[in-house]
């Protein structure tokens, strides 16, 4: 069975996996990082979004072996101790979540957008979030949160 080694939230982590082990399974089951959720498992809902080498991807549609050697950031890697990441803080401030299931993927997707575009318009946020489904909020407050979070990030992650 293959061994994979990757930097996860700044720490080098290794594990033995099967070829077919998905990145999201490796994160949740091998590393215990259950903040990354599995919603649809068909690359549509976006609950599993993480960053691989700085880019947001759906970790349900990526093999762990494909991320061997990569730099991976999950929702657990955003906060600085007890201090929330500006995007997390913006979601709290603007009530950008209800049940919270989609939130880790929303936040990781939003941080990728903010890294590319520090002041996205409402339209740009809505287009970017096409791959993140929320069944509670109606998106309105999520969009507000993402715009505020991006501005709070001030062009830096």
């Amino acid at each position: 069975m293959p061994t994979v080694t990757m930097t996860v939230n700044g720490m080098e982590r290794s594990g033995t996996v099967e070829g077919r082990t998905l990145l999201v399974e490796f994160l949740r089951e091998n590393l215990g990082l259950t903040g990354t959720h599995v919603g649809c498992d068909t690359s549509q809902c976006g609950a599993c979004v993480v960053h691989v080498n700085g880019t947001s991807v759906k970790s349900c549609t990526c093999l762990a072996v494909q991320a061997d050697g990569a730099d991976v950031t999950t929702i657990e890697g955003l906060a600085n101790g007890a201090e929330l990441h500006p995007m997390q803080e913006a979601f709290r401030e603007h009530h950008g979540l209800q049940c919270g299931f989609c939130t880790p993927g929303m936040v990781m997707s939003a941080v990728d957008l903010a890294n590319r575009n520090p002041d996205p318009s409402e339209h740009e946020v809505r287009e970017w979030l096409e791959g993140n489904l929320c069944r509670c909020t109606g998106y309105h407050n999520i969009v507000k949160a993402v715009r505020a979070g991006a501005q709070a990030m001030g062009g830096g992650s």
Partner: protein, 264 residues
Amino acid sequence: MNDFTYHAPTTLNEALAALGAEGAKVIAGGHSLLPVMKLNLAAPTDLVSLAGVPGLADIADGGDSVTVGAMCTHAQVAGSAIVQARIPALTAMADGIGDAQVRNAGTIGGSVAHNDPAADYPAACVALGATIVTDRREIHSDDFFQGMFMTPLEDDEVITAVRFPVPSRASYAKFANPASKYAIAGVMVAQGPAGVRVAVTGASGDGVFRVGEMEAALGESFSAEAVAGIAVSSDGMLSDTAAGAQYRAHLVAVMAKRAVAACG
């Protein structure tokens, strides 16, 4: 998903050697292959990743053509200054595939090799008259897309690039499935050295097809009015929860008209 042996070659020759195993398959971005493997519609014994093979993700301006490396992601194509300058219709098409995360991982080579009947790239390739470049030969898109999930690729053949002739004008209009963003009907219209070509994806069970009647009409007069009266038969059109066959046939005509109008 059945288990398999994963190979991460660092040269094309190593990749080709690994593909010699019975039941081996190439994996690029995995956004077509992994979903079908999850459904056990594909169960390769060996997966050979091209991610570590250098030189497969370049975009080059060849003057009268643009060559896109097979491992270029949709996001790369959508963000390419070369593609934007030479074939803006291709930029717009790539930017409309799936969603941001799908575009960050899915590749042109993977999409073309898979030949999903609802994928966008087959329409772009056929309308623009693209050539599929592999490790051993060049295949014109007219000969490449042979029906749903069917291509002439050998089991151990690797697409290395897709070469698009630069059109004088082109545009893509898509009526997308609201959940997946796959085309329910997507029409690429292009006018180039080979004349006017109209290629349709998403609508037919046989995958991408050309509409000769529209091409002839646009050859006479390149205007939205020229295609407005041309109806497309619903014979052979897909019918599913997203759209019935007749509705798809109607959408083909509407998308064609929009694409022509957008050509300017």
